[in-house]
Symmetry: C2
Subunit: 492 residues, 2 copies
């Protein structure tokens, strides 16, 4: 029996809390909306996700990862436009002074807010005679823009130095661009990635990991010569030209080859190549079922004004009732570098193809926490023993559990020896308490793909039992063949 | 010729900036004191350091890594005492209103501030007739305490929810303790680590990575039963009892075995075991020369009031003119958990040895950025071609550079093939521009231990040249033997 959607989110949360995946930060103080912590299992799966991401996107030529402070000084956000534009539409009830977001308020009242600007939202609220969700009064203020950055006052001198917690990792990358260009090959395209924290003072955070106040982003900014936007190395293009992209364009789901997308929609090859790379990440690396995946193109009103082309990766999540954004591919043009050049009065041009140019930027942006939640939703299942997660081998917090049948008769000694050896190469968990059935169930619940059992026969013939999570099948192998056997099962 | 000390810091900084190790954040806006960014080489060495740290401290039994939001709500810091006690002594010039730190001010005037409290500092300033460092006025305010946390206002409702950027990763661990105890083996000792950001609004940050406003900490909190503080597994104690600790006690450097330290100074075995583990990390994993290392015991006035025993790891750094703290081993007792129990009104006791107890905490705390700077200082050298870093193999940003002698005649093809294969297992850099001598020098400068050159002979007999950074010796090996050869050189 599958749980209903609301139930599913609750079950995932309950398991996550209990087993050590994640929970609200400062839970003993009642927690705080929009702030989460990862327990030991959550940290493992997050690290696995980030490493798969690096594997996919940083193995490309001339791609590098950097790190930055997350406090950035004010001029950065004057240049980027965040100080002026990074706002949510805030309404205040004139009677009870409760404040809330106009767009969410409309959505909650069943009104489609896609493509509505703030004036249209205000009109809709009046037209529908909507009332304060708290005190039911109809005296509501107009929606006004509220800046979502967290201000920080640095230092203690009289003239405070204003700064902000960065709302996206991208800005730190733009600040580092010229240094990195000089320090690397002095070549374009140049990819610079940051996996780091970002912050948004959401008026009303909700939907678990989908609207956090503090979150982790994995972002790759690819700097390129706009004149080369149709250039993709011939062999690379050949490899993908027949690859079918799963698109949602104008609310229609269609599958088209990269070649067709290039010809039909005039989307540049360089953009398409990266779109394909992202789709491949979701389908092949994360093993998301095709029918839960789509690349949705955003309309002009939905996307940021500086994004010339914008597709979101959306995954169909039962726990959240439909397709939700987990990543975005943004053609940000020269908007950011030009802004920083102007504001800083530094020359940010680089020499490429015998010209001095400000490169354009293609941004691949992933919300890491959202993606983690997505994995829980997509790989959730009801097994024989109850709820479980069928995480792919490379994502599961532990690849292997070592289970001595009883904690004596020398079984524990052999088990610890195997544990020690496998620990060098895999994330391994050792569990010697409770019945073996109970222990299998505990491992299924956290998504461990393999259980190795050490029993009486092990002591006689140096074989162990390997149990596969998904088939629940068990077979015996020699101790020295364990590693070979586990590497064989690449299907997971 | 060795550079003088000031020169050394400048040279390191210049190389770091130019080659992509680190630089001040938002440099194009003039940078900001206390905020740094890591370039692609810096990120690699930082990751290497963190992984060695995990290897040393998280391989111990029942140790786990977690992750937390760095925004923590106010009650956390009421409980921890940070709101009340986490202060710097701030002086204001009554004439020009310049503000500065009393302790630094005294130090700059050649007065030893060790063991001085704020009243004594004020007295010393008056006695010495010190003047404002900016306008030279003698009208100075008394030193007053200034809280060093960065406040954050969360949300937009009228009643703002006060929070702070965490000044140490430890607090998040205490908040997670009970959940983790339940989710893991329900056993003590239990180690919980966080490698994460922490923040301090320093009045006047200086000394490069040694007083940052935003920094990374690697901290392990070990929760244990205080009745078991003399218990260390017999075989573990046997292993270290004759191991000599390099101590600085009462300003005297002495070497004593663990056994002697236990008997002579009554320092508990459990504390000593961890002291030895930390020393081993510095001497064996990071390969710091013994004469640059000491474990200095802090006096009562120097250490936090809740620290019952406190040794700092200090490394002699030429660039900073002497021994500097890079890590600390703090016996924090039950101070933090008791504080949180009281403030949160939650029961934080756990069942252990048939009693309900609040565990005590032993904290191993490492400033990651400080340690990175330390590596640059310690492994700096002047080679044949100029400044270079003799980083140990496991710390160097790149283990291997692949250098085709010329970028044609098929050498590039073979080189790229080798690059592709080695990249699966090592951090490898590919460089095909400039003379081979210049390329060796460039690799020496960033500390790459091995250069592999592909030349004319490679095309004939499938051998390459391996050049070792430190010996500068070259020898030829078959392409298929490269990996074996590199693993052989474990000395580095």
């Amino acid at each position: 029996m599958k749980p209903d959607n609301k139930n599913k989110a609750e079950i995932i949360n309950a398991i996550a809390n209990k087993r050590g995946f994640f929970w609200p930060t400062a839970e003993i103080y009642g927690g705080r909306a929009g702030l989460y912590s990862y327990g030991h299992l959550g940290k493992l799966i997050k690290t696995n996700f980030e490493n798969l991401w690096r594997d996919q996107f940083l193995k490309e030529e001339n791609c590098y990862e950097i790190d930055s402070s997350i406090i950035l000084p004010e001029p950065v956000f004057i240049a980027s436009g965040h100080l002026k534009n990074f706002n949510d539409p805030l309404i205040e009830c004139k009677k009870c002074h409760f404040r809330f977001r106009a767009d969410q308020f409309l959505e909650d009242n069943g009104i489609d807010i896609k493509n509505l600007d703030i004036e249209e939202m205000n009109k809709a609220i009046i037209k529908e005679k909507l009332k304060c969700p708290k005190c039911n009064s109809q005296e509501l203020s107009n929606a006004k823009w509220f800046n979502m950055m967290f201000p920080i006052e640095v230092g203690s001198t009289e003239k405070k130095d204003m700064a902000y917690l960065t709302p996206e990792t991208a800005q730190a990358t733009y600040l580092a661009f010229k240094r990195e260009f000089e320090a690397t090959r002095k070549k374009l395209p140049l990819g610079i990635a940051i996996i780091g924290k970002a912050f948004r003072n959401e008026i009303s955070p909700r939907q678990l990991f989908f609207r956090l106040r503090e979150f982790t982003q994995a972002e790759l900014q690819i700097f390129f010569d706009p004149e080369e936007i149709e250039n993709v190395e011939e062999n690379k293009w050949k490899e993908i030209s027949k690859y079918k992209l799963i698109l949602n364009k104008d609310n229609k789901k269609i599958e088209l080859t990269c070649e067709e997308v290039n010809k039909k929609f005039k989307i540049p090859k360089f953009y398409i190549y990266n779109l394909a790379l992202v789709q491949n990440f979701y389908l092949e690396k994360l093993k998301i079922p095709k029918d839960k995946f789509q690349l949705r193109e955003l309309g002009e009103k939905e996307r940021a004004f500086y994004n010339k082309i914008h597709f979101d990766v959306e995954i169909n999540l039962e726990s959240l009732g439909g397709f939700k954004e987990v990543a975005g591919i943004h053609y940000r043009t020269d908007h950011d570098l030009l802004g920083h050049e102007k504001q800083s009065k530094q020359n940010l041009q680089v020499l490429w193809n015998n010209k001095n140019i400000i490169p354009h930027v293609l941004e691949l942006s992933f919300g890491v926490d959202r993606n983690i939640w997505m994995l829980f939703d997509v790989f959730y299942d009801i097994g024989k023993e109850g709820p479980m997660f069928r995480f792919p081998k490379k994502l599961a917090p532990f690849s292997i559990a070592i289970l001595p049948l009883v904690n004596k008769e020398g079984m524990d000694k052999v088990a610890k020896e195997i544990y020690k050896n496998l620990k060098e190469k895999f994330n391994v968990f050792y569990d010697d308490s409770g019945s073996i059935g109970r222990r299998y169930a505990r491992q299924d619940e956290i998504g461990t793909p393999f259980c190795i059992t050490i029993d009486g026969q092990t002591l006689k013939d140096k074989t162990v039992t390997i149990r596969e999570r998904d088939s629940m099948k068990q077979h015996r192998v020699k101790i020295e063949k364990i590693e070979e056997e586990l590497n064989k099962t690449q299907s997971l």
